[in-house]
């Protein structure tokens, strides 16, 4: 297991390095990044002085080294538009993105896990089929469209009918979380249903479930206590991955609901030609995703000693 963990850590470092190289090269792929700042009217000496100040006169590997050094200190540079450190802006926006992702994950689990359990217990019945349909629908719905349709129905239509409507944009009280988090969570319900179902089917076949039944335990206790507890291991680790995925998907949902998170900030930065911000968001979310994946994998081998990993 030690070797497996060491390998996973090494791979994660490679992945992080890969992201940094990628965003670093992308920034320089179309030529001189200083062009964004430098006006044509500026005298050439001043422009040159500016390049020297930004370190752009150095060879590219030196620039990358400086970039990495700054990064390791948490310095992501300054925003071109906001004239503030990108790190500061990220810290400000993160709670919105993170809280939305957590609520979305909660919603997905509340919908997906019971549905998965039921479809395993009532395998081959109408319930199983219904769960399958929900799973397929979840996987096939574009979340930006689902978000707009939910806004239209629960926000606009309800309001027009004089019914209590839901807030459709911005972040405020608990009610503002309902539509965005459902939109986000809906997409992953599918994965949760399928995983819970197959995991439950495995567990329901096992000896200790037969034993529990033989002892004359109530079937409900057997399913929801004995079986589900063990079936939850892969489901919980998968939920960790979902959280990482939500951070990536946050751009879309935040854009739809005008949610003030990092995803929306990245998109605004693209249209505002503010590369340091785009770069900062990509690196931060990328690293977050990689670290979560790593933790999930390590946790998985720790929780479930039955799992053996090959090093290849």
């Amino acid at each position: 297991m030690g070797r497996y963990v060491a390998n996973r850590i090494a791979q994660s470092l490679v992945n992080i390095l890969f992201i940094t190289v990628l965003v670093f090269l992308l920034a320089r792929a179309t030529g001189d990044p200083a062009d964004v700042f430098i006006d044509d009217s500026l005298p050439p000496e001043a422009a040159e002085a500016f390049r020297v100040r930004l370190g752009l006169d150095q060879p590219i590997y030196v620039q990358y080294w400086v970039f990495i050094k700054d990064l390791s200190r948490g310095d992501l540079g300054d925003s071109v538009r906001g004239h503030r450190p990108v790190t500061e802006m990220l810290v400000e926006r993160l709670p919105a993105t993170f809280s939305l992702a957590l609520v979305a994950m909660g919603i997905a689990m509340v919908m997906g896990i019971p549905l998965g359990v039921l479809s395993a217990v009532y395998r081959g019945t109408v319930i199983d089929r219904a769960a399958k349909i929900v799973a397929f629908l979840g996987q096939s719905t574009p979340s930006f469209w689902l978000g707009i349709m939910l806004m239209l129905f629960f926000g606009v239509f309800f309001f027009q009918q004089g019914l209590p409507s839901l807030p459709i944009s911005g972040r405020g009280g608990a009610a503002t979380y309902i539509l965005p988090s459902f939109t986000m969570g809906w997409f992953v319900v599918a994965g949760l249903v399928r995983l819970t179902r197959s995991s439950m089917l495995d567990v329901l076949d096992s000896d200790y479930v037969t034993m529990a039944r033989a002892k004359g335990l109530n079937e409900k206790v057997v399913i929801w206590k004995h079986a589900l507890r063990n079936a939850m291991i892969p489901v919980l680790t998968y939920s960790g991955l979902i959280l990482g995925g939500f951070m990536n998907g946050s751009v879309v949902v935040e854009q739809v609901f005008a949610w003030p998170g990092v995803g929306r900030m990245a998109l605004t930065a693209v249209s505002g030609r503010d590369y340091p911000v785009v770069q900062g968001v990509v690196i931060m979310i990328g690293v977050f995703y990689i670290v979560i994946n790593l933790l999930v994998d390590i946790l998985y081998v720790m929780i479930d000693p039955r799992i053996k990993y090959s090093n290849s």
Binding site: Q11, S12, V14, N15, F18, I19, L22, V23, L26, A27, A29, T30, F136, L137, Q139, S140, T141, P142, S143, F144, W145, L146, I148, M149, M151, L152, V156, R194, R197, S198, L201, M247, N248, G249, V251, V252, Q255, V256, G263, A266, L267, V270, S271, R273, Y275, V278, Q279, V281, V282, I285, G286, Y289, I290, N293
Partner: protein, 297 residues
């Protein structure tokens, strides 16, 4: 050419089934495919093939006097903010989605298949290196990377293809490599090796045909996935540039008119959902049919 490699291969040549019988067998199997997804995909193919005949209007022709018109006989699904016919734009939009996904599957998927089979078969350092690269690509946040890519190179049809290819290649490479690893241990591969068949021959004749079923299944599922990602990018304004009738873009354009003209966003979104759903159902059925080992319990 009486080399050691040519002759024994002829000996283990399996008798091939004539093409027409294989096609007929394929059609028999296809009859059992799920009906509704097949109909939806069929309609979609008609859209793609005969767009000028099926569409009732020019998809990019503005008709500002007739903008935001609700669905009617003249405009089945209404018109958008510039008076363009929503139905005709959906019809033409199918071409964009399909062309893009096929290109990405051909380039990215093709590269992934080659990488997966060759490195999976050879093993060793090349395999380890490609594995690391595949993992690194799959760990990237796709939409955000696409944003920074678009930031640098601007947005266009080809840029979307270029962004998606590495991701699709990585997914293909990972799955195909797994299949190759198990195929590699089969007796007939060992036999081919013993009789001295060169590597490229073993990969082409013995490994590839055995991962073919898997490739067909993941290609189907990937097309759905690609359409979803492309439409998300187009929705965000960093995918297919206007005035092209990309479905995701249409949803985005209708967003600000959602209270007065819901049809502009509703129908293109339904088109995406129906297409992806059909591809997923069809792919799932294909997997059960062609690749029983990977079937869900």
């Amino acid at each position: 050419m009486a080399q050691a490699t040519g002759q024994p291969d002829a000996v283990i040549q399996v008798q091939t089934i004539p093409l027409h019988r294989r096609v007929r067998a394929g059609l028999v199997v296809l009859k059992r495919a799920p009906l509704i997804p097949m109909i939806i995909l069929g309609v979609l193919l008609i859209f793609v093939a005969f767009a000028p005949l099926v569409a009732t209007h020019d998809p990019v022709q503005n008709d500002i006097m007739n903008n935001l018109a609700p669905p009617s006989i003249a405009n089945f699904l209404g018109t958008d903010q510039l008076g363009r016919d929503v139905y005709s734009r959906i019809v033409y939009g199918s071409r964009i989605s399909l062309a893009l996904s096929l290109l990405v599957i051909a380039i990215g998927g093709g590269a992934g298949i080659i990488l997966g089979t060759v490195t999976g078969y050879l093993g060793g350092r090349a395999d380890a290196l490609v594995q690391r690269a595949v993992e690194a690509v799959l760990a990237l946040p796709l939409i955000l990377v696409a944003l920074s890519f678009v930031f640098t190179f601007g947005f266009s049809f080809w840029n979307v293809v270029m962004i998606l290819c590495p991701f699709v290649a990585a997914r293909f490479a990972r799955i195909v490599r797994g299949e190759t690893l198990s195929t590699r241990e089969r007796d007939y591969v060992a036999l081919a090796k013993v009789i001295g068949a060169p590597t490229h021959r073993i990969v082409l004749k013995h490994i590839l045909p055995n991962v073919f079923n898997t490739v067909v299944v993941i290609s189907t599922l990937e097309v759905g996935h690609i359409i979803l990602v492309e439409s998300s990018l187009s929705f965000l304004g960093v995918g297919i540039p206007p005035p092209k009738p990309a479905w995701g873009l249409m949803v985005a354009e209708g967003r600000q008119f959602i209270t007065s003209a819901y049809w502009i966003s509703l129908f293109p979104g339904l088109a995406i959902m129906a297409t992806v759903l059909s591809l997923n159902l069809f792919g799932d059925w294909l997997r059960d049919t062609m690749d029983p080992r990977r079937r869900e319990l």
